[in-house]
């Protein structure tokens, strides 16, 4: 892995690769040429209450990251009409994690409150 190109004006928000001098992602542009079928993205399939998970242009859910206890998605808060990072706790917690139903709900509420941050 070489050093980042001097031409890179940032990284692509969709794949994380360096952008070229025009601000385009060469990797995304080349990858599209390899797509066998271009499927029309369907309306959001994942929603949590007032939060609707965003989709990539190919229709896949927009995941920002994932860890042992859950997945963080880019979502839209339909009430406040703004983008948020939404952390969703996995139903099955990792082995050894003890949590009662009530404490699980509490953690979920707290995590939602802390994880929902303004995206832009």
């Amino acid at each position: 892995m070489g050093k980042p190109l001097a031409s890179a004006v940032g990284v692509c928000s969709m794949c994380g690769k360096p952008l070229n001098a025009k601000g385009d992602c060469l990797a995304c542009l080349l990858r599209t040429g390899l797509e066998k079928t271009i499927v029309e993205p369907k309306p959001a399939v994942l929603a949590f209450g007032d939060f609707e998970v965003e989709q990539h242009a190919d229709g896949s859910c927009w995941e920002l990251g994932h860890g042992a206890i859950g997945v963080t998605y880019l979502a839209v808060d339909k009430m406040l009409r703004r983008r948020v990072a939404l952390k969703v706790i996995a139903r099955r917690l990792p082995y050894g994690t003890r949590m009662s139903l009530s404490s699980s709900s509490l953690v979920l509420r707290r995590m939602l409150l802390t994880a929902i941050t303004r995206w832009n």
Binding site: C12, K17, L19, A21, T32, G33, V76, R83
Partner: protein, 231 residues
């Protein structure tokens, strides 16, 4: 272009195809010459002379169908050409050759700018491949942009371009953009899908001009993607 070069195509057709080729792949070849330490003007002269040499000696007709891609062929030809540069300069100085190819100043400036931004790449072959990839996608995007313009949908192309070209900022949500464009989300999704499909076809058409089969189009795209991930 490959097919035209190998068949007994009309000389005008080959000439026109090569002139177009000069436009699209001038920058990667120029960048390679610059990476060999030539000055801006010498690199311009040498790149022009190389294309004149290709035309004059019909080197393009020697592309071997079995030996792979036009990209590799051009690079190998350029390396051979540069190895004999001292001799060739005496006979093929710009304007001195039998075939004269005009050099557009804007094209030359863009190529130099591209070379400067990629000058950190240590391998000259990698720099060439990277510039080649840039030239390919630029040609496909330009073709697509011209098509949208012809259909009086230039603004739509500008708004949706981010869905294929990416960018530092995430694309707007479908809801936001649909509201801004005054169309339904469903219509917007169809527009994005069509744009992606049309871009994919434009890119594959561009690659197809330099290889022999659809399978090689995939191989070429995979190889160029690999070059990017190696950097």
């Amino acid at each position: 272009m490959l097919a035209a070069g190998r068949s007994q195509a009309e000389p005008e057709m080959v000439g026109a195809a090569l002139a177009e080729l000069c436009q699209v792949y001038w920058a990667p070849l120029y960048g390679f010459v610059r990476s060999r330490g030539h000055t801006v003007h010498d690199a311009q002269d040498l790149t022009q002379s190389f294309f004149a040499y290709l035309l004059e000696h019909k080197v393009y007709a020697r592309v071997d169908r079995r030996k792979g891609r036009f990209r590799s062929f051009l690079l190998a030809s350029l390396k051979n050409f540069l190895a004999d540069a001292a001799d060739r300069e005496r006979t093929l100085k710009r304007g001195g050759a039998q075939i004269f190819l005009p050099l557009h100043e804007e094209q030359a400036q863009e190529a130099e700018s591209l070379f400067q931004t990629h000058s950190g790449i240590s391998s000259e072959d990698r720099l060439f491949d990277r510039s080649w990839a840039e030239a390919l996608v630029a040609a496909a995007l330009e073709r697509l942009s011209a098509d949208y313009k012809r259909e009086a949908k230039e603004q739509l192309f500008k708004e949706l371009r981010i869905f294929i070209a990416g960018g530092a900022e995430p694309p707007p949500t479908y809801a936001e953009l649909a509201h801004r464009l005054g169309i339904t989300e469903s219509t917007l999704r169809s527009h994005v899908t069509r744009l992606r499909a049309r871009y994919r076809d434009a890119l594959r058409t561009e690659v197809r001009r330099t290889v022999d089969s659809e399978k090689q189009v995939d191989q070429e795209l995979h190889e160029l993607l690999h070059v990017l991930t190696e950097m």
